[in-house]
């Protein structure tokens, strides 16, 4: 059974476990259907190239969804992702590997609730950060949970 993450046990600068992805063009079409984002630069190569792109590009929000998955995989059932911001700094292309990562940057207690603020990012195969952002998560505290 998965161990719960407790506020007291998580040190500043701890790593969020990495999540690896390699989106395919099929996945971009699945995302278009699931999200309602039918902008053709994500599935029509000619359309994308006419607009100066080398080819179809991965939806920024799909990459944001990968960061969300990285956070919820880490948090398990008790933690909650409360806030996620993503800046799309460079394009990701289908077929290329993506590494999602994060680090705990701040810990704080507000109104009796325990929060971690993490710096999160997405790296392409060249090690370039294509997305950077911040995730704020609410986690349980041993001090507040019976038998923790």
């Amino acid at each position: 059974m998965k161990e719960y993450l407790y506020y007291e046990d998580i040190a500043l600068d701890s790593d969020v476990p990495v999540l690896l992805k390699q989106p395919t063009t099929t996945q971009l079409v699945m995302w278009a259907g699931a999200s309602g984002d039918y902008y053709p630069i994500h599935y029509d190569k000619d359309y994308a190239q006419q607009r100066g792109l080398p080819g179809v590009i991965v939806h920024g929000q799909l990459v944001g969804g990968f960061l969300g998955q990285m956070m919820t995989d880490w948090l398990g059932e008790w933690g909650q992702l409360r806030k996620l911001s993503c800046s799309y700094r460079a394009m990701n292309f289908p077929g290329e590997p993506i590494t999602c990562g994060g680090k705990v940057g701040k810990k704080y207690i507000r109104d009796g609730e325990h929060f971690l603020e993490c710096n999160v990012w997405v790296e392409n195969a060249q090690g370039e950060k294509t997305v950077t952002g911040t995730a704020v998560v609410l986690v349980p505290a041993r001090s507040a949970v019976k038998n923790a």
Binding site: A34, Y39, G64, G65, Q69, L81, S87, Y88
Partner: protein, 144 residues
């Protein structure tokens, strides 16, 4: 990317003005397809036999109503997504009826290397059928 830049006066006139609210009924198939598109196998999003049932991944709300933002962007020759920022306060589950309120919060014009561009920031508020706040989202998109 040459030719006339689209008329953005209509967009400027809409800054700060709430659009007609839109209502979305959340179905389990929408949540399942969303999780599958991300490639996220977490049973919380798909296993109906779990105590508490299915909930949507937190990033799900960012796509609800995004189609209405897209409609407004078709006037541009090309657009790129610059950023997404959301907060969520309550889980979204199948059967939820969400009412969303969207408006253009900011519009900034810039002269870039490839010509004129517009940074548009949209703000959306999501409420459930009890009028409780479910989440908020800010999307910034660059139009060329």
């Amino acid at each position: 990317m040459t030719g006339d830049f689209p008329d953005i006066e209509e967009l400027k006139a809409k800054i700060g003005v709430d659009w007609e609210p839109a209502v979305y009924e959340i179905e389990k198939g929408m949540i399942r397809r969303f999780a599958q598109a991300i490639g996220d196998p977490n049973p919380r999003w798909q296993d109906e036999n779990k105590p508490g049932g299915i909930m949507a991944p937190p990033t799900f709300i960012t796509v609800i109503g995004f189609d209405r933002i897209q409609e407004l962007l078709t006037r541009f020759k090309a657009t790129l997504h610059a950023s997404t920022e959301f907060e969520c306060y309550r889980p979204v589950k199948p059967g939820d009826i969400l009412t969303i309120f969207t408006r253009i919060d900011r519009l900034r014009e810039r002269q870039g290397q490839t010509g004129r561009m517009v940074f548009l920031t949209f703000e959306t508020v999501y409420k459930n059928s009890l009028a409780e706040l479910v989440g908020t989202c800010r999307q910034t998109i660059i139009g060329y």
